[in-house]
C-alpha cells in the first residue's frame, strides 16, 4: 500500500514543511556555524566534521563566544541595547497608556476614526518615517529652527546622533504596537465597576489604581513585549539617528557579517540575541495563544 496524504495532512503539512525548511533549519545552521572557526575559504568557516587520516572528528570551537565575552565592545553594546530597549518600552507605555485609555473611553464613531489615525502611520514606510526625524532633529533641522526663532535657545542643540534621537525614533515607530493591545484590553473593561467605586466614595485616581490598572495588566505585558523584543535587535533606527561611538547589538551582527566577514562571530551574536529574547518571546506566544483560546 502506498501512503497517500489526506486533505487535512496536506493542509497542515505544507505550511509546517515551509516553516521547517525556511525557519527552523536556518536556526540550526546559525547555531552550528556559531561553533565554527573563521578561515579564508568558501564558505569562510571550518566544517563540522574534519577527516584526519581517514578518521572523522567533530570540530566544535568556542572561539566566537570567547571572543564576544572578552571583548568589552561587544559586552557594552549588548548592555546598551538592553538599556535602550527597556527605556523605550517604558516611554511607549507612559505615552501609549493614556492614549489607549482615551480611545477606549470615547464614543463608537470617534473610536473608529482614532484607531485608524493610530494605525495609518504603520501602513506608510517605516524607513521613511525614521528618515523624517533626521530632517526634524538635525542641527539646522525643523526643531532647532523653531526653537531658535522663538528665542528659547541661542545655539542649535545637538539632537541627532544622540541617545535621545534613538529613543524618539523607537518610541515613534513602535507606539502603535503599544497602543493597540492596550486598547483591546481597556475596551473590554466593565465600566460599572468604576461607577460602583465612585458611588462608594473612591476618588478617580484611587479607582483607577485599584480597578483599571490591575485589570489592564495583560495588555501592558503584551504591548511592552511587542515594543521590547524588536527594539533590542533594532538596526535601522540607531544607524540613521543614533550615536556613532556606541552601536547596538543588531548593528554589531550586521557589521561582523558584512564588514569583517566573520560568519562564526555574527552567528554567535545572533544566538546571544536569541538567548536574551527567548523568555520574552515565549511569554508573548503564551499570551497570544491564550487570547485566541479565550475568543473560542
Amino acid at each position: 500500500m502506498r501512503w497517500r496524504p489526506s486533505g487535512r495532512q496536506l493542509i497542515a503539512g505544507i505550511p509546517i514543511l515551509w516553516l521547517l525548511v525556511l525557519f527552523l533549519i536556518p536556526f540550526l545552521i546559525v547555531f552550528r556555524i556559531s561553533f565554527a572557526e573563521v578561515r579564508l575559504a568558501i564558505p569562510p568557516y571550518t566544517p563540522l566534521i574534519s577527516w584526519q587520516h581517514g578518521v572523522p572528528s567533530l570540530e566544535l570551537h568556542g572561539a566566537a563566544y570567547a571572543f564576544l565575552f572578552t571583548d568589552p565592545l561587544y559586552v557594552s553594546s549588548y548592555l546598551y541595547s538592553l538599556k535602550v530597549a527597556a527605556f523605550s518600552t517604558l516611554c511607549c507605555l507612559l505615552i501609549g497608556y493614556p492614549m489607549a485609555y482615551a480611545i477606549a473611553r470615547s464614543g463608537a464613531a470617534a473610536r473608529a476614526v482614532l484607531l485608524m489615525l493610530i494605525v495609518l502611520p504603520f501602513w506608510t514606510s517605516f524607513l521613511l518615517r525614521v528618515y523624517a526625524w533626521i530632517g526634524l532633529l538635525k542641527n539646522n533641522g525643523v526643531i532647532n529652527n523653531v526653537l531658535l526663532y522663538l528665542g528659547v535657545i541661542h545655539h542649535p542643540l545637538a539632537l541627532l546622533q544622540t541617545d535621545f534621537a534613538v529613543y524618539v525614533g523607537i518610541v515613534y515607530s513602535y507606539l502603535p504596537f503599544m497602543i493597540l493591545p492596550l486598547y483591546a484590553n481597556l475596551e473590554k473593561h466593565d465600566v460599572t465597576l468604576l461607577e460602583a467605586a465612585a458611588d462608594l466614595g473612591a476618588r478617580p485616581w484611587r479607582a483607577f489604581l485599584a480597578i483599571t490598572l490591575p485589570q489592564s495588566f495583560p495588555g501592558i505585558i503584551a504591548g511592552s513585549l511587542l515594543v521590547f523584543i524588536p527594539a533590542v535587535g533594532e538596526y535601522v533606527i540607531p544607524t540613521l539617528l543614533g550615536r556613532t561611538d556606541q552601536i547596538m547589538i543588531g548593528r554589531v551582527l550586521s557589521d561582523e557579517f558584512f564588514e569583517n566577514r566573520d560568519w562564526p562571530v555574527a552567528s554567535a551574536v545572533a544566538i546571544l540575541i536569541l538567548l536574551l529574547l527567548v523568555i520574552p518571546i515565549m511569554l508573548f506566544q503564551r499570551l497570544e495563544q491564550r487570547e485566541l483560546e479565550a475568543a473560542r
Binding site: G7, R8, A12, G13, P15, I16, W18, L19, F23, L24, P26, F27, V30, I33, I95, G96, P98, M99, A102, R105, L114, M116, L117, I118, L120, W123, T124, S125, F126, L127, L128, R129, Y131, A132, I134, G135, L136, N140, G141, N145, Y172, L175, P204, W205, F208, P230, G233, Y235, L240, G250, S254, A270, I273, I281, F284, Q285, E288, L292, A295, R296
Partner: protein, 283 residues
C-alpha cells in the same frame, strides 16, 4: 472623573501630533526649492522639481518596480500558506505537528530582523553548496524570505477570524452531504475572505517596506526600493526622498479612505437587507 478624562485626552492629542508631525514635515518640504531640505526657501517655493527629479531617476524607478513585483508574489504565496496554517490551527483540533506549527507560526513576527536575515542567508548559502540551488542571491531569495515572515502575519489574522466564527455552519453543510472542498469554497472561504484580504494587504505592505532581512538575502543587481532609499539617506537628507514619501503617503491614505467608504457601504446595505427581512417576516 473630569480631571482624568482631561489628562488622557490631552495625551491623546499630543500623541497624535507626535505621530503626524514628521509625516507632515516631509510632505511640506517635498515642495521646498532649497537643497538644504529643512530651510524653507520662500522665494522659489512651492515647487514640483523634486517630483520631476524622482520621475527621471532610473535607479529609484527600477528599484520600485522590483519591489512591487516581489511584494505581489510574496503577498500572494504568503496568503495561501498562511490561510492553510490558520485553518489547521483553528479547525483541526489536536493533530500531529500542531505544537510545532503553533510554536513556529508567530515566531517570525517577534524575531529580531537581523537574526532572521542572517539565518535565511546562511540557509541559502548552505543549500547552494549542497544542491547547487539557489545559484546566488537575488529576487528569488528575497521573495522566499518575504514569504516566510509575511506568512506568519497572515496566519495570525486568518486564525483569529476563524476562531471568532463557530463551526456550526460548516458542520451543517457537512451533515447535508457537502464534500470538504465544497464546504471550504462555499462556507469557509466567504467567511474568512475579509481576513484574507487584509492579510494580503498587510503582507504586501510588509514586503514592500522591508529593509533589514532584504539586505541580507539580496544580491548584486537586486536592490529593492527600501535598499536604495537607505543608501541615499544614510549619509544625509535628500529632497527627492521627501517627494517619494509624499507620494507613498498619498497612495496609502487614498487606499484607506476607499476601503473605509466601501466597508461603510457594505454595512449599510447589510442593515437595509436585515430591515427588509424583518419587515417581510412581520408581514
Amino acid at each position: 472623573m473630569r480631571a482624568r478624562g482631561l489628562f488622557s485626552r490631552t495625551m491623546l492629542v499630543l500623541g497624535l501630533v507626535f505621530l503626524y508631525v514628521p509625516i507632515l514635515s516631509m510632505i511640506v518640504f517635498s515642495f521646498n526649492n532649497s537643497r538644504l531640505v529643512t530651510v524653507w526657501d520662500a522665494a522659489h517655493s512651492p515647487t514640483l522639481k523634486w517630483y520631476a527629479a524622482l520621475v527621471n531617476n532610473q535607479q529609484i524607478l527600477s528599484a520600485a518596480w522590483l519591489s512591487i513585483r516581489i511584494a505581489l508574489i510574496s503577498a500572494s504565496v504568503a496568503v495561501v500558506l498562511g490561510t492553510l496554517a490558520g485553518m489547521a490551527l483553528a479547525r483541526f483540533g489536536a493533530f500531529r505537528g500542531r505544537t510545532l506549527l503553533a510554536g513556529m507560526t508567530p515566531a517570525p513576527i517577534v524575531m529580531p530582523e537581523v537574526v532572521t536575515g542572517l539565518s535565511l542567508l546562511l540557509l541559502f548559502v548552505t543549500l547552494g553548496q549542497l544542491i547547487g540551488w539557489p545559484r546566488g542571491m537575488g529576487a528569488v531569495t528575497i521573495a522566499l524570505a518575504h514569504i516566510t515572515f509575511c506568512m506568519a502575519y497572515v496566519t495570525v489574522v486568518v486564525q483569529s477570524r476563524l476562531v471568532g466564527f463557530d463551526e456550526s455552519l460548516e458542520e451543517a453543510a457537512m451533515d447535508l452531504g457537502a464534500r470538504p472542498v465544497r464546504v471550504f469554497l462555499r462556507i469557509t472561504l466567504p467567511l474568512i475572505l475579509p481576513a484574507i484580504a487584509s492579510g494580503w494587504l498587510l503582507a504586501f505592505t510588509l514586503s514592500w517596506d522591508d529593509l533589514v532581512i532584504t539586505q541580507f538575502v539580496a544580491g548584486p543587481g537586486s536592490s529593492t526600493l527600501p535598499m536604495v532609499i537607505f543608501s541615499k539617506v544614510r549619509f544625509g537628507v535628500t529632497p527627492d526622498v521627501n517627494a517619494l514619501a509624499t507620494i507613498m503617503v498619498l497612495i496609502v491614505a487614498t487606499g484607506i479612505a476607499l476601503s473605509t467608504v466601501w466597508m461603510r457601504y457594505r454595512e449599510r446595505r447589510r442593515e437595509r437587507d436585515l430591515q427588509l427581512a424583518a419587515a417581510a417576516n412581520w408581514r
